[in-house]
Each structure stands twice: as structure tokens, then as C-alpha cells.
Amino acid sequence: MWKFVVRRILIMIPQLVVLSILVFILAKVMPGDALSGLVETPGVDSSTIEDMRTTLGINDPVHVQYLNWIKGLSQGDLGTSYIHQRPVLELLEARLWNTVYLSAAILFLTYLIAIPLGITAGRFHDSLIDKLIVGYNYITYATPLFIFALLMLFVFGFQLQWFPTGGSADINLEPGTFSYYMDKIYHLLLPALSGALLATVGTIQYLRNEIIDTKMKDFIKTAKSKGVPEAKIYSHHILRNSFLPIAAFLGYEITGLITGSIFLESIFSYPGIGQLFLQSISQRDFSVVTALVMVTGVATLIGTLLSDIILSLVDPRIRVE
């Protein structure tokens, strides 16, 4: 088992190198840089801008820039934001955690809703309850998140005023206290619920179809012929086999959530990396953008790693000697 994990982690190294090259190239081929916006500014002449470019290293040959960037990365230095004039790492830290909390909350709520619904639909397939659940699935699949989230915000935030409409915590509360954490959770609930209600579709549909599929398998007949009661056939044989693809998707789900929270964070004015990402793109703050793309890339790799590890834990056939 450990050998498998170590080997799997070693495979990540070349993946990371390729990822970093791609991210760097993408950042370089984008037109303009942080200083292009200043060209027309009165009082700033072009030679000053050129000087600034030289001091910032933008005029260096590409491979030197890349190596410098990698050197910084390996030391935990993600560069400096041109716009905020602060280290990117500092900018990221607080927001990254907010995004992680939000993603975790969405994931938790998604499974809380999707697993019981998926099991019910699969077990009683073609019944009325199954049709209702599949109907719910079609509706949520067809609903765009940015409209649904706005609607949720309007109804529960502004009209009913059950939830706060923005931010991640009340600024008057002392960080670290119990009420501060409760307030953070309170701020999380509405965006998380909006995300989760739409994110359930994949899990429900997969679980339902897997259960219907597994029900027909020969080993279920074997179990029945042993005299195993139906409820036990579900808990011991059908469910575990049906959870395999869900487990396999857990890692990808995490990736999807971190990148997918861009809409949610902008709509709920939630200070996470998604919001920072949009701002930085519009301000051409490329050191932040590349750092963020890099972070989400790494999150993707970790997600797939998690998927593989989880799958190898639940499925003995995957375990590589």
C-alpha cells in the first residue's frame, strides 16, 4: 500500500514540471503586462516604464524568467503582486483558506443530500420516488449556477434576511473565538447550500445507476441463494460496489469545487481565491494569476492522487503490488 502511494507521489513530479511550464507560457503569451496600463498615464514617460520593467525582470530572456520563477516557487515565494505591492503568498493565504472552507462545506452538503437520494432512487428505481429524484436531477443539471445563486441570495439574503449577504465573517468579532467560528459557518451556509444543491446531480445519477447495475450482477444472486435478507444484501454487497465510482470522483470533485467557486464567491462577495482570480485578471496582475493557476493545478494533482488512494483502499483490484 505504502509503495503504491510513494510511487503515485513520484509520478506527480514530472506532472508538476509540465504544469509549471504550461502556466508560465500561458502567462507570457497573454498580451500586456502590469505596466501596460500606465503607458498613457500623464507624468510617466516611457523610459521610466522601461526602467521599471528591467528592475522587475520582465525584460530578461524567457528561460531566465522561468528559472527565476521556479526558484522562487521552490522557496515558497510566489512573487509580488504588482497591483497590491504585497507578496502573493500573503494575499493568497487568507483567501485560500476561505475557499477551502467553502469547498469542504459544499462537498459535505452535496454528499449529505446526494447519497440518501441516490440510494433511494437506485433501490426503488422506476417508482414514483425515483422519478421525482431523477426529475430534481434534470432540473438542477439544467440550472446555471450564477442564476440559481443570485436567486438564493435574493430570496434568503435580501427578502427573508435569514442569511448574511456577503463577506466571510463579521469584522467586529475577535478572530479565534467561538462566536467568530460560528459566524464564519453562518456566512458559509448560503453559498455552500447554493453550490451543493446543484452539485448533487453527478453523485445522485452515478449512485442510482451503479445500484441498478449492481442489483443485476451475478454475485447478488449468489448472496440471495445463500439466504441473505434483502436489507443485508444492500448493505453488504450492493452499496459497497456502487460507491466505487463515487469514491473515484471524490478527488476530481475537490478540484472542481476549488475552481468552480469563482461564480459563488463573486455573487456572495465571499473573499476567496475565485474572487481574487477575477480581480487579478482584469487588473493584469499576472504574478497573482500565475500563482493561482499554479495552485489550482496542484490542487487538481492532489485531487487525482486522493482519488487513486481512496480507490485503492476500497477496491482490492486496484492495489498494485
Binding site: K217, D218, F219, K221, T222, A223, K224, S225, K226, G227, V228, P229, E230, K232, H236, H237, R240, N241, V314, D315, P316, R317
Partner: protein, 346 residues
């Protein structure tokens, strides 16, 4: 064999499946007695209703898609009147099943030891340790080398033949008095087949179990079974002792099946071919002799209008009178004494 020895008595069993909102019988008013400590083979082409019969006995069919009528007497009770919960007390404990494909009949995520134990959990009061001990004993009985090690292996770590032994181990775990073996050797290659057959015979001898052997392999039948019941289109067309049947098959369908196999009596000749295929349930003509459409150039007068299974000599039953007039074309009559050997190794 007297009536006291009857273990299972199937009476007028009709099993119908739903196709497009209509029910069609896959087993049509069939009767069969299974005696204690005997192996009855049920043979026929694919789609004749053999498996449907085996599944009916254990109530394995999907309830909404199936209609069953008749009686299945087993140890003084009618299994068809049992609820699913009551049947669960019989399944695995009194009657168990061996499945065709050992690759799919085992749960891929459960170690094989636990799969063997599972039945005991519901049928016995053995403690966890005792169950494990028993499971290892059974693994030993089905001749698995290093049973302690195999106990905690997953199905994918075992070969096909080993897996079939596990499937058999599951079936005998609670020492049932009847085992329904649904094509137990079909998915295995020939050398493994022979070993599995030997194992089943030995287990039957030692445990005094009756076996209903569902197969389309007459070689397996000649090696294992005491009696044979030939099924065609949901009906038994001939029932008799295997030895006598192989020497002297009566029903046209039985004859055709036998002569379509290569043997030393038809060496160098074209094998007999039964024209056509078994009609599907919703296209089957249920009037008169069901095999008539597949017989070559026989006139209608030789068939009965409502054929019934008739005892022509003691213990040998045949359906329809057409057997009296049927000859296999271009084929030597096979009446030699060594008929038994002919099918060895097929």
C-alpha cells in the same frame, strides 16, 4: 426408489415471464420428482427453460416480472406458498445453488472466506471464530491448497477453477440437502471441468446430497447423473435413467441431441443438425407437439393433439407418440454397449 425417498416434488409448475406487459410461460405445467441422494440432470438447448426451472425452485425470480403457479413440495412444505422471509430460511441452508460463471458469481470486494461464511451467519448460531474455522474446513473439502491463505484472498487473486471451487464451497457451507447446479462447468476449460465434476461427485457421495444438474453437456451428464430429464420449450419431453437413456433415447428431440454429438459411431459422417432454433417465448406455438416444427418431413398424423408425458417402461417417460415413427437420417443406429464411454471427455 420408493415414494418415501422423494426429496423434492415439483407438481404442475408453471413459471411465466413478462414480455411487453404479457406473461408467457417458460416452464409449462411441469412435473418432476427428485429422490434423495441422486443426481438429476436437466438438459436442453439454451432458452429451453432449464435455468428458469432451477430458479423457480428457490424463488429466485424477480417477483414483479414473474408469475408462478403449481406446487413445489420440499420436506413436507410447499415452497411456493412461502414468503420471501420464509424462503430465506431455506435458501442456502436446505437448498443452495452453484452458478455458471465463477468470474461474476463472487463479490469482487469481499474476501472469499467471508463469502463462504455469510450463509452460516444467517443459518447457524456459530461464533465468529467457529465460522472461520468451518470456512477453512470447507475450503479444504473442496480441495483448495493452503486454505488459511486463500481464506483472506479476493476473488481476482484466484484462477477460474479455484473460483468455481469457492462457488461450490459457498453452496455446501450449510450442508444443504439439495444443490441446484446451474451449468457448473460451462465456463471452465476441459481439464478443470473434469476435476470439478469429480469434486461434485465426491461431495455428493460424502454428504448424501441430491443435485439437480442443469447443463447442455451430455458428456457431463453421462459422467455424473443418475437420471436425466430432457427439456424442450418449457416442457419435459423425456425423463429416464441416464444409462438406459443413452443407449436408447426415445423422443425425437433427445435423439437429435445425441446424434448431433461426435462419437465413434458417426465417425467420418456429417453431424446431425437440428434445423431452426428454440422459438422465443412470445413466438412459441403452444398447441400440439412443440418439437414438430423442427422435425424433417414428418406428417402430422404421428403427433398427438395434446401430447402428455407417458411412462413407456418403468421409470422412462416420453411425451407425444411421434417418437415411434422418428428415425435419424443418414445415421447409424447407436446401440453399442460402450455407449457410456463414448461421451467421456466431451
Amino acid at each position: 426408489m420408493s415414494n418415501d425417498d422423494i426429496l423434492l416434488q415439483v407438481e404442475d409448475l408453471t413459471t411465466s415471464f413478462r414480455i411487453d406487459e404479457q406473461f408467457y410461460p417458460a416452464n409449462d405445467h411441469i412435473n418432476l420428482d427428485v429422490y434423495e441422494n441422486e443426481i438429476v440432470a436437466i438438459v436442453g438447448e439454451s432458452g429451453c427453460g432449464k435455468s428458469a426451472f432451477g430458479h423457480s425452485i428457490m424463488g429466485m425470480h424477480h417477483q414483479e416480472q414473474t408469475k408462478i403457479s403449481g406446487k413445489i413440495h420440499f420436506k413436507g412444505a410447499d415452497l411456493l406458498s412461502y414468503s420471501n422471509t420464509q424462503l430465506n430460511k431455506v435458501r442456502g441452508k436446505e437448498i443452495s445453488m452453484i452458478f455458471q460463471d465463477p468470474l461474476t458469481a463472487l463479490n469482487p470486494l469481499m474476501i472469499v472466506g467471508k463469502q463462504i461464511e455469510e450463509g452460516m451467519k444467517y443459518h447457524t448460531k456459530l461464533s465468529k471464530n467457529k465460522r472461520k474455522q468451518k470456512a477453512i474446513e470447507i475450503l479444504n473439502e473442496v480441495k483448495i491448497p493452503q486454505p488459511e491463505r486463500v481464506y483472506s484472498q479476493y476473488p481476482h487473486e484466484l484462477s477460474g477453477g479455484m473460483r468455481q471451487r469457492i462457488v461450490i464451497a459457498i453452496a455446501i457451507a450449510c450442508e444443504p440437502s439439495l444443490i441446484i447446479a446451474d451449468e457448473p462447468t460451462t465456463a471452465l476449460d476441459v481439464t478443470i471441468q473434469a476435476r470439478i465434476i469429480d469434486l461434485l461427485k465426491e461431495l455428493k457421495r460424502r454428504m448424501k446430497t441430491s443435485i439437480i444438474l442443469i447443463t447442455h453437456d451430455l458428456g457431463v451428464v453421462s459422467e455424473m447423473a443418475d437420471r436425466i430429464a430432457v427439456m424442450y420449450a418449457g416442457e419435459f419431453v423425456e425423463i429416464g435413467e441416464v444409462k438406459r437413456f443413452l443407449k436408447n433415447p426415445l423422443h425425437p428431440y433427445s435423439k437429435s441431441l445425441l446424434y448431433s454429438l461426435p462419437s465413434k459411431n458417426n465417425q467420418g459422417e456429417k453431424l446431425h443438425v437440428i434445423k431452426g432454433v428454440v422459438p422465443s417465448l412470445n413466438h412459441l406455438q403452444r398447441q400440439g407437439c412443440r418439437f414438430k416444427p423442427r422435425m424433417n418431413g414428418t406428417d402430422d398424423s404421428i403427433h398427438e393433439e395434446t401430447p402428455t408425458l407417458r411412462e413407456v417402461e418403468k421409470g422412462h417417460w416420453v411425451r407425444c407418440t411421434c417418437y415411434k415413427h422418428f428415425q435419424i437420417e443418414n445415421s447409424h443406429q447407436v446401440v453399442e454397449e460402450e455407449k457410456d464411454d463414448v461421451f467421456q471427455g466431451q
